[in-house]
């Protein structure tokens, strides 16, 4: 047996990495591909289950056909979600080994539990998807429930980790080594992750709802508007519409949590240079030299929003050392993009809800459907902008005020090469995904797989019925 004194346990140390920026971009790229896909894992199973439930209740075959066709879309997106998620797990260690090896004992548990939710999801997706004609209708419906539950559980676990990185606790650090770790406390007793979870969850419903509804909105603009298409549009649209106004309220809550826990991030979001009593809020504009140029200032609004008091003092960026500040304009523009899009989407949702309430039907103006077609991509932009706000706003820290990103990075060379290859692989992935989904969409309605290649004309003919 080899004996080494316990206190001499070697660890990983910070190294010089000239491609830190590329490593960060690689991480960001992977998230940007993964997160929109997982929105479908969060919300799509619920939509499908709702439709299948209507089938069980009414016996109307239309619902069954709709649920089956959506299931095929779900599997395709899920496969892409699995792949990109696996890459993220690799990257946690490949790009940030010093981070993982220092704090794995604190946050790792979250991912380990997440692994089980992945299992549940993958197992029941297999059963649900391939069991359509094999299981009894009721059993089949039940086999879909764990998928929806696992979607929630999975995002809960990742977000506890992210919440911990933004608001670390539950460990003791001595000479850069964790000597004492309380993972349950670190992850779940943390007040910070709740707003992230609710906000992300609603975002999942918005992204999935607006994207799916948007596809049928485009169909309607092209004249495809049977009973099937109307229902396929109304279900996701309604889900997104009830989520959107709430998202504004939850976002405001998130901002207040940030104000309390991460004053640097708040100051960056708002481009606030000097510490100010009764601070104004600036819309648009560009941050230079400690203030926002060309912005529209609204006096005292920031103090009111962040601290519920028009005279509250808000700490500005100038009160922090320069190398503790995140890239202000990136964070600020991302934040404003998210809020702008979020407000517009909430408006669109309210219009829909009002029309439904007053007239008892779907809107009829072409403009509504044009806007709806744009709402899907816009919600993805908001989603990514939100994550940029959170993650870039936390820079230069990977674990807020504990470990800097440049201390976390790998010492291995060749980052630019793997970055280029990865970007290429994602490009192919996205093209393939798009192509596969087009194929599924073109399959003529009353037929099923394994279908011969469908002549697009058939789909068009249907549209003219």
């Amino acid at each position: 047996m080899v004996m080494i004194a316990a206190d001499a346990v070697p660890g990983l140390t910070a190294v010089q990495q000239s491609y830190l920026l590329q490593a960060r971009q690689m991480q960001a790229l992977s998230f940007m591909v993964h997160i929109p896909l997982v929105c479908f894992g969060i919300a799509f199973p619920a939509f499908i289950l709702f439709v299948e439930w209507r089938y069980l209740r009414t016996g109307d075959e239309l619902f069954k056909t709709l649920a089956r066709r959506w299931t095929k879309v779900l599997v395709t997106l899920f496969a892409a979600g699995v792949v990109t998620g696996t890459i993220l797990s690799f990257e946690m260690t490949l790009l940030w080994p010093a981070f993982t090896s220092t704090f794995g004992s604190v946050f790792g548990l979250g991912f380990a539990i997440e692994g089980f939710s992945f299992f549940l999801e993958a197992i029941f997706i297999g059963i649900y998807v391939y069991g359509w004609d094999r299981l009894s209708p009721r059993l089949h419906f039940l086999s879909g429930v764990p998928i929806a539950v696992a979607g929630v559980l999975g995002s809960l676990m990742v977000i506890t980790v992210n919440g911990w990185m933004n608001h670390p606790q539950g460990f003791t650090l001595v000479d850069g080594k964790v000597t004492d770790a309380h993972p349950f406390q670190a992850l779940f007793a943390n007040s910070y992750f709740w707003h992230e979870l609710v906000h992300m969850y609603l975002a999942g419903y918005m992204v999935t709802g607006f994207l799916v509804a948007g596809c049928y909105a485009i169909g309607r603009l092209r004249g495809r508007w049977g009973r099937y298409e109307r229902i396929a549009l109304a279900v996701p649209l309604t889900a997104a519409a009830v989520a959107s106004p709430l998202q504004v309220l939850v976002g405001d809550w998130a901002a207040r949590d940030v104000a309390i826990n991460q004053p640097i991030k708040l100051a960056a979001l708002e481009g606030l240079g000097p510490t100010t009593r009764g601070a104004p809020e600036h819309l648009l504009g560009w941050y230079t030299n400690g203030h926002v140029e060309y912005g529209i200032g609204i006096p005292r609004l920031l103090s009111l929003l962040a601290f519920h008091n028009i005279d509250a003092t808000v700490r500005g960026l100038n009160s922090f050392p320069a190398d503790d500040q995140p890239p202000v304009n990136v964070v600020r523009i991302a934040f404003q993009t998210m809020v702008g899009i979020g407000s517009l989407l909430a408006l669109l949702a309210v219009i829909f809800l009002l029309v439904r309430w007053r007239r008892g039907r779907l809107p009829t103006t072409v403009w509504f459907y044009r806007a709806l077609a744009l709402a899907g991509p816009a919600s993805i932009v908001a989603l990514i902008a939100g994550w940029v706000t959170t993650e870039v706003g936390r820079q230069p820290w990977v674990v807020y005020k504990v470990m800097r990103t440049d201390q976390a990075v790998t010492g291995a060379s060749g980052i630019p090469v793997s970055y280029g290859l990865l970007a290429l692989a994602y490009l192919v992935l996205l093209i393939a995904l798009f192509w596969a989904l087009r194929r599924l969409a073109k399959a003529a309605l009353p037929l099923s797989d394994p279908s011969p290649p469908i002549d697009p004309l058939i789909a068009d003919e249907r549209a003219l019925e």
Binding site: F90, G104, W357
Partner: protein
């Protein structure tokens, strides 16, 4: 003691990954080598259909081993990932390529498209296990020192032990896949496919066995410590078990007893992994024992609890999946979608009451989440808002609303 339990989880995870996920890789390989023509096509389709329902679940085992690893032995994972960055990155790219090809396989049936897709799928199905195997070889031959990319980035995976481990991973996957596919073909009553995969299983099995023997010679020269471990004590016992299980499996395949052969093959693989672990003991990386590498006790306890509780949920679910698959409960059917009728609208009850309640909840939510400050108020506020969302959805009743709209044309 505490420090070794997570290692057992990891080994179990790796064994299951090899046995289940490895078979998926192997199936991809057989798709690649099927050639052209209707027979080849039957082989490819069979391989695709057999693994479709279990593909995702099988691959979570890798994630499982990885996450348990970085929670329980963070220093080891950090050192391995930074030194073996090249093979692991290539494995990652291979996983993406496989995922792409897999998603496309279900989306198209056009022959020339399928050929390209199957080729990508097959190639990445060889590349990925090879690279993962060679990263394990780097650990086994002591080429991963503790530290951030402290080892040699190239020779740590281009060395005899790594090459051997990679090749062995590919061969074992091919063998397992052929056995499983033969069993599936037999269950589906596809006599010709059964024979095709039987001979493939025998060939791959012999190859894997030869590689394993060659492996002993290679480690004798390249990884002396492991060699000594494998030729004495528990390591030797594991090697013997593995060899016997392998021979038995070949005999079972010869006799067309595929279901039993699955078990034998799994045992052979699990025994080899256990033997490696025994041989490696007590040192994980040069100069680092398992105990030194382990996370603080609280973490280990939390992790063990989480895995055991998770296992209680996982085991029956996995059992259900595999029972359904093995009983043919998830085999493809050709049942078409039902034609969609343009039935007339059925009018529903008014949803005014629901809408009012939803608005009420919304107001409560605004007061408690947006205006109030205490944390407890926020909790109730969020619940009120989510309730408002559900009630609002019910009030809109999208399926009914859509009925009301007259067709545009």
């Amino acid at each position: 003691m505490l420090a070794t339990i997570p290692l057992l989880f990891i080994l179990a995870g790796l064994a299951l990954y090899t046995v289940l996920g490895g078979a998926d890789f192997g199936a991809g390989l057989w798709q690649l080598s099927a050639g052209r023509g209707p027979r080849a096509r039957a082989i490819r389709d069979h391989a695709h259909h057999s693994m479709a329902p279990v593909w995702e679940a099988n691959h979570v085992w890798l994630i499982f081993a990885l996450t348990v690893g970085w929670t329980a032995y963070p220093v080891v994972i950090g050192a391995v990932a930074s030194t073996s960055t090249i093979p692991l990155s290539i494995a990652g790219l291979g996983i993406i390529a496989r995922g792409i090809a897999y998603a496309l396989q279900s989306a198209t049936d056009v022959p020339h498209e399928r050929r390209v897709i199957d080729a990508v799928f097959g190639l990445s199905s060889m590349l990925t296990p090879y690279m993962l195997g060679s990263a394990l070889g780097a650990i086994a031959s002591g080429r991963v020192p503790v530290g951030n990319a402290a080892g040699n980035l190239v020779t740590s995976w281009l060395n005899p032990t790594s090459i051997l481990c990679g090749a062995l991973a590919v061969a074992v996957g091919a063998f397992l896949a052929a056995v499983y596919l033969a069993a599936d073909a037999r269950r589906l009553g596809l006599g010709e496919l059964q024979r095709a995969f039987r001979s493939r299983a025998l060939a791959a099995g012999v190859l894997a066995g030869l590689l394993a023997v060659a492996g002993l010679i290679v480690v004798h020269h390249d990884a002396e410590r492991i060699y000594r471990g494998l030729t004495s004590g528990w390591g030797l016992a594991a090697v013997i078990v593995s060899a016997l299980a392998g021979l038995m499996t070949l005999a079972l395949v010869w006799g067309n007893r595929f279901q039993l052969a699955r078990g034998g093959a799994a045992l052979a693989v699990a025994a080899i992994l256990a033997g490696w672990a025994a041989a490696q003991r007590p040192i994980v990386l040069p100069g680092l024992t398992l105990h030194q590498a382990a996370a603080p006790n609280d973490t280990l306890v939390a992790l063990i609890i989480a895995v055991l509780v998770g296992g209680l949920i996982l085991a029956p679910s996995l059992g259900l999946l595999f029972r359904l698959v093995l009983a043919g409960g998830l085999d493809p059917t050709d049942q078409p979608d039902v034609p969609v009728t343009q039935a007339s609208a059925r009018h529903t009850k008014s949803s005014g009451r629901l809408a009012q309640t939803a608005i009420g909840c919304l107001l409560v939510g605004v007061v408690l989440l947006t205006l109030a400050d205490p944390g407890a108020a926020h909790v109730v506020g969020v619940i009120a808002l989510l309730t408002a969302a559900v009630l609002g959805f019910a009030a809109v009743a999208p399926d009914q609303t859509a009925l009301d709209d007259a067709p545009k044309r």
